[in-house]
Structures are given as structure tokens and as C-alpha cells.
């Protein structure tokens, strides 16, 4: 893996050519869906001529393929958008380009970010960076693997219920999901508006903090962005940290428990106070998530109708047939599954029992977090119940697959900032991450805590 500092002593052209070489060399992992070589080399030469400057001038990066960006199609890893060339760029991409960074390609994901393993990509799965028989995690699997393999020092991803944190854990890199509203989502393919967040992968916390400071901030084109608050210069001294007891049961893989326990020991050695805490509502959060999020997905995916852009089925005679067939051919099975679950929980007979009940439960979840954050600066626990699982292991049972998100969805439903930081490997050489969660808008404090532990 290479940090941003590793690139500073080379010309932009050398950096980009090297990144493209690494991308080709590692093609068999299928982390990237496309390369933006031509545009990347043009921008590199402009950096070397001094026409493009900035804090990240000449630094290569990759973008999850649900961000609109120039130089390659924006497919969302779906047949629906296979040939869709976005006419504009996402705000986060624009901000990185304004800082001089150079995108070299777009990364693989579960189609429309619906999934936890990148196996739902219409173009085939991404392989885990540490074991090719295992999943990359997801949905931002391609971005995590590209950073873990050293193709680029950082990558953009989206996290709706764990889609940055879980693949970061599975591949041994740092993954950041910010407070809901910290980063503009303009130009990003929407999945579930009430939890969608944009974040990044990096090889270390300092690089991740730099990227977040560049992409964060209010955007007139996304009215859900919060007024600017992120201050990257915060430092931490002694913190009071809660260890979530519900995530230490026998259902959690023993290697994961060992990794988190040793991280907790290190927190204590560093002078932080760690106490066990209870969050009884956690037994209900995955059910809340798989009601609220499919409901929002079914609404968001309604826009793909084969009319204005995207896939249009051929040989259809009526408009209804055009909609029905384009959506049958353009969506993956998991997209269709979530559209149906969402339509079901929103339908008039079930709305109160499912959707409304889930939104009330969400209030109770937020109240439990609020109570804990009156006492604790941060919470610590695993990212996922196991290290990376095998390719195909859960593809026949959607609920088994959903369980991979059980520890990441609570922070998403409450809009809290959460990190996945590497916490060692098991005997099989699989990376395991630890999750750190803080109160809303405490992103900088959380990253400062993670950074101080990295130095220990």
C-alpha cells in the first residue's frame, strides 16, 4: 500500500503511468470497471506544466462507479447504465480535481450499491485483496481493493449501511463514513437518501482526513448538506470510550472478537478509559434498515424507466412494455428484490406496520445513542461479524447476506460518523477492522483518536 506522501517526489506523469501500470497488473482482481487513461494523462501533463496546482496535484485516485465523472461511463455496475456518460461531475469529484488530484478509473460495486460483497455487480465480482477466493466486501468493494493493492493511495466510495466500512475491514484499509450531511451527494447515483453518505478509503488516517477536509462542506446543489463544521486540526487527549457489549456474543467470529479486544487493550494502554456499554435496541436495527432502505431504494430506482437515459429494451410495442422489460433487463436480481420489498412495506395495508414502525424505532435508536454520547466520546466495536467470507457463500440467501451489515447499519440509521481502521489479521492472513463511532459532527475528533492509535 502507498500513502499520498509516496507520490510527492515524482512527476504527475510518472505517478499516473505507474498507477495505470498497477491497475493493469492487478486486472484479475476486477477492482476497476474502467480506466480514464486519456483524461488522466492529459491532466498529469497539465500538472507538470504548472497549469493545475493544489494540495493533491498529480496524486492518482479512483472513484466508485456510482459517482458521475468525466472520462468513462457512470454505470453503477448495472446493465441499466452500462453506456451512460454523465454530462456533469459529482461535487466530491470536482473538489478533488480542483485540488489537483487525478482520477485514473472507476471501481466496481454491487449494482446501484445494493449489496455487501460486490457480487451483485452486473460485470462480475471483485476479488479480495488478501485472498482471491473471498469477497471484497461491499458495496464499495472495488475502491477498497484498489487502495489495498497499492494501485492508488485513496479512493471515493459511498456508505449507506456499511458500504465503505465493511470492505475497508475486509481489505485492511482505513474507511471513513462521515456524519450524514457532511459531504455533498450531488452527482452521485442515489440509493437511500436518508442514509446515503460519501466517504473515502485510504492507507492511513491522516490521508483520509485530508481527503474528507477537501470533499466536505455545504453545497447549494445538495440542500441536505450541513453548514461547514469539519475542523481537521482537532487533537484528542484522554477519551472515554464505550465498548458495545451486544457485539461480543458467540454469533461474532472469534478472530473478530480477538482483534477488537486487542485494540481495546491498546486504547487502555494509551490512557483512554474503556467501559462496556449496553445497547439493547441493536437487536432490532437490521430489521429497521431492511425496511427503510428498500423503501427508499424502490422510490429512487423508479427513475430508471428506459425513456430519458439508460437501457431501453428492444422489440417492445407499448410504453408499459418498455418500462417493464427495460427494468427487468437493466436491474440485477438484488435490485429487483429490494424494489419489491420496498414496494411491499410502503403499500397501503402494510405502511404502518413496517415503514412507520421502523421510523419510530429509528427514533428510539437515536435516543439510545444520544444517552451514550452524554457519557462517552466514542464507541468501539467490530465492523462485521466475520472476516471476508467466500465468494458465493451467501448468494443464495439474501438474509444471510444482510447479516454482514448488522454492525454497520446502526450508525447509518442515526447519521453518525464511523470509521473502520485496520486491527490486524487472523491466522489465515485475512484483515480485520475495528469500528469507531462518535456523535454527529464529531468526525474530526473521531479521526484524531484513530490517528493517535495508529501512531502507537
Amino acid at each position: 500500500m502507498k500513502s499520498i506522501a509516496n507520490y510527492k517526489s515524482f512527476s504527475a506523469r510518472e505517478n499516473i503511468e505507474e498507477a495505470l501500470r498497477q491497475a493493469e497488473k492487478n486486472e484479475d482482481y476486477h477492482a476497476l470497471l474502467s480506466l480514464t487513461s486519456e483524461r488522466a494523462l492529459e491532466r498529469a501533463d497539465a500538472v507538470d506544466r504548472g497549469e493545475i496546482t493544489g494540495e493533491l496535484a498529480g496524486i492518482p485516485f479512483v472513484i466508485k462507479d456510482n459517482f458521475s465523472a468525466f472520462g468513462a461511463p457512470t454505470t453503477a455496475a448495472s446493465k441499466m447504465l452500462e453506456n451512460y456518460n454523465a454530462p456533469l461531475q459529482a461535487t466530491a469529484v470536482e473538489k478533488l480535481e480542483n485540488a489537483g488530484a487525478i482520477c485514473i478509473g472507476k471501481t466496481n460495486l454491487d449494482a446501484f450499491a445494493n449489496g455487501s460483497s460486490t457480487e451483485n455487480s452486473a460485470f462480475g465480482p471483485t476479488l479480495n485483496s488478501h485472498d482471491k477466493t473471498r469477497v471484497a466486501g461491499g458495496s464499495s468493494g472495488g475502491s477498497a481493493v484498489a487502495v489495498a493493492l497499492g494501485i492508488v493511495p485513496f479512493a471515493l466510495g459511498t456508505d449507506t449501511g456499511g458500504s465503505i466500512r465493511q470492505p475497508a475491514s475486509f481489505n485492511g484499509v482505513v474507511g471513513v463514513k462521515p456524519t450524514y450531511g457532511m459531504v455533498s451527494r450531488f452527482g452521485v447515483v442515489a440509493m437511500a437518501n436518508s442514509t446515503d453518505c460519501i466517504g473515502c478509503f485510504a492507507t492511513n488516517v491522516s490521508d483520509a482526513k485530508l481527503i474528507m477536509s477537501i470533499i466536505s462542506g455545504r453545497d447549494e446543489r445538495d440542500m441536505t448538506t450541513l453548514p461547514d463544521y469539519f475542523n481537521p486540526d482537532v487533537s484528542v487527549v484522554k477519551q472515554k470510550i464505550g465498548l458495545i457489549r451486544e457485539w461480543f456474543t458467540d454469533d461474532v467470529n472469534s478472530d473478530v472478537r480477538t482483534a477488537v479486544s486487542s485494540y481495546v487493550d491498546r486504547l487502555r494502554q494509551a490512557g483512554h478509559e474503556v467501559e462496556e456499554v449496553n445497547m439493547p435496541i441493536l437487536s432490532h436495527t437490521l430489521a429497521m434498515y431492511y425496511i427503510i432502505v428498500p423503501a427508499e431504494i424502490s422510490s429512487n430506482l423508479a427513475r430508471y424507466d428506459g425513456v430519458r437515459y439508460g437501457k431501453r429494451a428492444s422489440g417492445v410495442k407499448t410504453l408499459a412494455e418498455l418500462y417493464g422489460k427495460s427494468r427487468e433487463q437493466g436491474f440485477e436480481a438484488e435490485n429487483q428484490r429490494r424494489i419489491l420489498i420496498g414496494s411491499y412495506v410502503l403499500s397501503s395495508g402494510y405502511f404502518d406496520a413496517f415503514y412507520q414502525q421502523a421510523q419510530k424505532a429509528r427514533t428510539l435508536l437515536i435516543q439510545e445513542y444520544d444517552k451514550l454520547f452524554k457519557v462517552y466520546d466514542a464507541l468501539v466495536g467490530p465492523v462485521s461479524p466475520s472476516p471476508a467470507f467466500g465468494i458465493g457463500e451467501y448468494t443464495n440467501n439474501p438474509v444471510e447476506m444482510y447479516l454482514a451489515d448488522i454492525m454497520t447499519v446502526p450508525a447509518s440509521l442515526a447519521g453518525l460518523p464511523a470509521l473502520s481502521v485496520p486491527a490486524g489479521m487472523n491466522d489465515q492472513g485475512l484483515p480485520i477492522g475495528v469500528q469507531l463511532i462518535a456523535n454527529r459532527k464529531k468526525d474530526a475528533t473521531l479521526m484524531a483518536l484513530a490517528k493517535s492509535m495508529e501512531e502507537k
Binding site: 410504453l319 422489460k325 429487483q336 414496494s343
Partner: protein, 96 residues
């Protein structure tokens, strides 16, 4: 175990504008049953008198000046994204 009739799933698919064949409906029916079995557990949680949370930012009525701004995207660009167009219009087959 929750049971749903395949015809109900077919109806749901129609409402969602998904034209699915019998095999797809059959698989999706059992997937939907598995998922409903799981999410139904939420009914056990007492939420009497609790207000629902629909959004997390606490922002309300975010206003901006109502000014005309030029779009960075042209009509030609947008039309070129459509699978079929004619005379500056997007073309679709007959409605009925």
C-alpha cells in the same frame, strides 16, 4: 413462516413496473418471504407514543435566492442520452 401468494408478488412487480417471468417471480417470492420473516420481528418493539424520524439533519426550509443560472449541460447533451429522440423530443412507443 410468512407466506405470500405468487400472484401478490406478480401484482407488486406490476406496480413497480417490473415485467418478470414465472421463474423470477417464484424465486423472488421465497426471497421476499425470508426477508419479511426477518423484518417482522420489529413488531415486538414497543413504539407507543414515539415520533418517527424521517430525516437526520434537523435542517428545515433551506432557501436560496431564486436566480436564473445557466446550466452547464445543454439540451443537445441531454437529448443525446435518450435511447431515441426526434425533433428535440424524446420518443417512446404508443401509450396504449
Amino acid at each position: 413462516m410468512t407466506q405470500i401468494a405468487q400472484k401478490d408478488v406478480q401484482h407488486l412487480a406490476q406496480l413497480a413496473q417490473l415485467q418478470l417471468d414465472d421463474n423470477e417471480i417464484q424465486t423472488l417470492t421465497s426471497d421476499l418471504e425470508l426477508t419479511l420473516d426477518y423484518i417482522e420481528s420489529l413488531a415486538e418493539l414497543d413504539t407507543q407514543g414515539v415520533e418517527p424520524t424521517y430525516q437526520l439533519t434537523d435542517l428545515t426550509n433551506v432557501f436560496r435566492e431564486d436566480e436564473v443560472q445557466t446550466s452547464e449541460v445543454s439540451r443537445e447533451q441531454l437529448l443525446s442520452l435518450a435511447p431515441e429522440s426526434q425533433d428535440n423530443q424524446i420518443k417512446v412507443p404508443k401509450v396504449l
